[in-house]
Chain length 426, copies 2
Amino acid sequence: MLQFLSMSESELLKVKADLEDRYNQFKAQGLKLNMARGKPATDQLNLSMKMLDTLNSGSDMHSSTGDDCRNYGLPDGLPELRELFAELMGVDDNNIIVGGNSSLNMMFDAVSCAMTHGFAGCEPWGKQGHIKFLCPSPGYDRHFAITEYFGFELIAVPMLATGPDMDVVEKLIHDDASVKGIWCVPKYSNPTGITYSDETVRRFAALKPAAKDFRIFWDNAYCVHDLTDTPDTLLNLWQECRKNNTIDLPIFFASTSKITFPGAGIAAMGASEKNLSVLREHYSFQTIGPDKLNQLRHIYFLKDLDGVMDHMTKHRALLEPKFRTVLGRLESELGGKGVAEWTSPNGGYFVSVDVLNGCAKRVVSLCKEAGVTLTGAGATYPYGKDPNDQNIRVAPTYPPVAELEQAMELFCICVQLAAAEKLLNK
Amino acid sequence: MLQFLSMSESELLKVKADLEDRYNQFKAQGLKLNMARGKPATDQLNLSMKMLDTLNSGSDMHSSTGDDCRNYGLPDGLPELRELFAELMGVDDNNIIVGGNSSLNMMFDAVSCAMTHGFAGCEPWGKQGHIKFLCPSPGYDRHFAITEYFGFELIAVPMLATGPDMDVVEKLIHDDASVKGIWCVPKYSNPTGITYSDETVRRFAALKPAAKDFRIFWDNAYCVHDLTDTPDTLLNLWQECRKNNTIDLPIFFASTSKITFPGAGIAAMGASEKNLSVLREHYSFQTIGPDKLNQLRHIYFLKDLDGVMDHMTKHRALLEPKFRTVLGRLESELGGKGVAEWTSPNGGYFVSVDVLNGCAKRVVSLCKEAGVTLTGAGATYPYGKDPNDQNIRVAPTYPPVAELEQAMELFCICVQLAAAEKLLNK
């Protein structure tokens, strides 16, 4: 196998011509495949169908508190579910609010609350003038979008194999009180799939931000979403912060969107008493309380942490072949050619591919023309702008394996084609 | 029956002593009844239990659009439900967003959105300095609380039998660009139970506010909640605004909280294209979309407007005796005595009682001491302060009829006792 970089021009031209042939054959097939979002597939959704039967007209509608879950009340959610999320998130159950169907909504509410009312007795963020938010990149576009919507300056922080570059984080927050927070997906990070190292977590717990109202948004979206026999483990930030007396720094988030149903799951947040007093006040004005029947449904179906872990092995059985397909194709088509690097995650929803500098947009656009929609190039960076035009997020979960084979074959053709074009135009 | 005001002191003392006897007998019973909130009773909740059976593991999970309701997507909600809410609210179905389980949440989101991002291209409300909101009073405490939370000055506007005093409203909004909105429950208003007259609705549609970003928050919470054979009808504000070219003025809200389940119903909002473009952008950052399975459940169960109206006759059958009990007791115990006035609504969830000036707090506190919790005196006014200490909201829906009889007998004793105390201390 020849490295593209060591090819002569004539070799490259020949390779390019072959790739163009293969590409045009794909184009002629008129494919229509979508790998843009981290969406569970239909067979994954089917795993939770029995949940709908657990709550019917003959069911007990009461929480362990004796409250009728059909009526108003219980703003923190059902105690049973607060306990379960406490275990999933590694936070005390008294510090959990169980909400509606979207953890993104709870993150947005937390930012919005800080914008208009502030944390830690500080002025609301919206009244503090120019403010900044740290965005480990590549990262999750919808996180970045929330803070962009609220007018923050987004600061990209490099993602390493151990998590965000903590030297950079520490320096930025130590010197600048206008830095108000950081977005984190600490386990099976979106999109690189890495899990923050113990040292990274310890350094988060030991942060000394200039801003008293600096907050770590710890989105543990993939806390139980293992895909291999060697799952990653994440050090417990809650406990580390207790040790460091920094318990007000983090706000924790998780949901069952990728455990039960993406559109009809349950989300939760966890935080210190001081943070919760601000957030609970916000919710006391914002809502009449969460949908407790869907909470009851989840408890009846999942039962406890063991129930969740059992259920996740079923997801793994469906997802593992898809990740194998993606990684296998990448290896067989691109391995040793020096045109791309990629991660091989132990869990989560994504494979992150770095192509040659300046080629990501071209790859995504070539794929699109041939009928395969990928996450937009740049989406994993603040403002949708990847400075190296290099990173592409591959989302293997939604298409069936057969389609994934096709899509990845095309993807690998496009990666090489874009590389050949680039090298020939130098 | 003697008017309290025309009694001599000795007559009053005798009446007071008799009332105290009756009061103390009540106190000895150790009652524990709650009439504080407009909560549906258990038998009302039971009316919707079959809804839980409509969506089970064998059901079709697809919307009419072909979307799998278990997955992400459809941020405006299911088309079928948008149509239903369009009929309930009198708004075009293209102008409806169907959301989660709380219309209060959608109102809060709309206010929050205007605070941080603004309507009509204006500066965000949060950046405009001192701003004001109109609160027709007596009115709904949780409406007022939202705008208080966001730092508005709350301006009480008198409620008349025809709705808010429109002379006052027109003057306030015409002269003052810092007035940004008004809270309205136009049908079976909370708590007075009146429905805005056609003229009031027409005057709302013809408003010419100084502020370009003034908005009418039109919470049609009781749109189909009739309790008599002579239901009120509300003129359609959406159509009136179309005629007046003022379609950007109102934002409409409704929910099934008091149709299906308070804690697990469906809420919706309606607004002009211009308003929706602002609100849809907000939601596109805020959430991954509403719980579409609960939406599907509602469509399978309620089906259409006829289905809703049929269902509401069942609620009426349960609620009518309760309202009859309350009104009957008020009439038999207080009628002709000159110590209270009350409304006799054709629908909704409340009876509004005005006691003698300066007596409301005393009545609520006497009731509480004897085991009956009422809505706090003053709750129906901005900042919880009734300037005349006169209005009490009675919520007949939650207790069974037998308990309601007891509670109302006690209530009427307390109203008279407070009146006697007041007249004797003059």
